[in-house]
Assembly symmetry: none
Homo-oligomer: 250 residues x 2
């Protein structure tokens, strides 16, 4: 029997929100709050259903959604467990620089954060499809855990977006773009390579020149396939794995 059962909040049987929805929401919250340890036992369906005063079927409906979203894992007889890695099917979540890191459990912080209005380099001009010599807003970041720089990040925004460079980039980027500029990312084209660290990259990430580094170039497009942003990222690969989940249509 699951011990912490009494810590689990109850459901509101009088609410207009369906019980299975409430159950799903609660479980989502409990999971993201790490109420259940990863790989650890999860309450049994029968127990949890009893605790919430709902039928096992209703509870299963909620759990099924969480399984499908990759938060939980079910096994006959052994029971339900919290999945190790949270999956990033959701592009919004995926594009978020902060989220990308949070899942790893280690707190990240910026050790460099600079916004600039500058001429784009040739590759950026090409990717964004802007004329030669166009000035663009650029965001540069180095993120670290403690004293170890982990990621170097540089982003260039298409002038069409309307950024001036004086925005507050501390809040999630795509929230800002959506709310302030009504720009919504829909497509993300990614190119990933392994390269040997150049002198410059080695200096940013405080590693040996020549050490393997993961390079990711990303072009973000809106629903009309017009470019929003182009960015380049270098990951210290000895400590970072790039993981995604893709789902097939149909």
């Amino acid at each position: 029997m699951f011990e912490h059962m009494n810590n689990i909040p109850l459901l509101d049987h009088d609410s207009k929100i369906p019980l299975h929805q409430q159950a799903e929401d609660q479980l989502r919250k409990l999971i993201s709050d790490n109420h259940f340890r990863v790989g650890d036992a999860f309450p049994k369906e029968t127990d949890l259903a009893k605790r919430w005063g709902i039928s096992r079927n209703t509870l299963r409906q909620a759990i099924s959604n969480l399984v499908r979203d990759g938060l939980l894992e079910r096994k006959k007889r052994s029971g339900t467990t919290v999945r190790k890695k949270k999956i990033t099917t959701d592009l919004a979540n995926w594009l978020s620089f902060s989220h990308e890191m949070e899942d790893k459990g280690t707190p990240f912080k910026d050790i460099k954060h600079a916004v600039d209005l500058m001429k784009a380099d040739k590759e950026t001009e090409e990717r964004l499809g802007i004329p030669h010599g166009t000035k663009v807003v650029s965001l540069e970041r180095i993120r670290s855990t403690g004293r170890n720089p982990m990621v170097y990040f540089r982003s260039y925004f298409h002038p069409r977006v309307g950024l001036t460079g004086s925005e507050n980039f501390k809040k999630p980027l795509y929230e800002l773009l959506d709310e302030e500029f009504h720009v919504v990312p829909v497509y993300s084209q990614e190119e990933i390579r392994a390269i040997a660290a150049t002198e410059k990259i080695a200096a940013w990430l405080k590693i040996e020149p020549g050490a393997p580094v993961l390079e990711r170039k990303r072009l973000v497009l809106d629903a009309g396939r017009k470019p929003i942003e182009f960015n380049i990222c270098y990951y210290r690969s000895d400590a970072f794995t790039y993981s995604i989940e893709i789902k097939r249509p149909i």
Copy 2:
């Protein structure tokens, strides 16, 4: 009342495959065969359930999955309709080993191709969720352009799939799995790292030990999130870039 009801195939009530799964599979097939026109009416739940001799609940379980996958849309009173197809990463194309290479313009060919029945290593056991000591069918490949090996590839198949090792792996793998074994890949979990080539990898790819190499681990799952295959791939990164496009859901 839906007119073409008699054209809809029946289910096998004696099969070991759950009825809701059969129903889901049938509907998937009917939809992709354009049996129902986009935006067009869909059979009513009650009618379809009656046609298949299953309860409405069981049918709803199937339909719910299709709704979640974005193939169908449900509205109270108006009924269920087929959604316009959305573009996402085309996993089928993406998973295909041959396609992956053909796009680059250079003709690739296998310089090593070996199928084996062997005990899985620890990581594979873990990923596939199989007991210790289980024998699995394994496919090993090295592909090259001319004299240059470009990719080392090793794949392990879950015993559930039913491969014996004597299949003809020359034709596209996922065609084989679908047609012969009725196994359809839906999810692909990928982990990508940059690593320094080990002695072994260096030998396979004919590069210097220590040179940066792109490592990709991939776990392929079916619609029920059951593992189909786990594979590891090493790309010569001086000549290979890994590229994908992702589309935001909704």
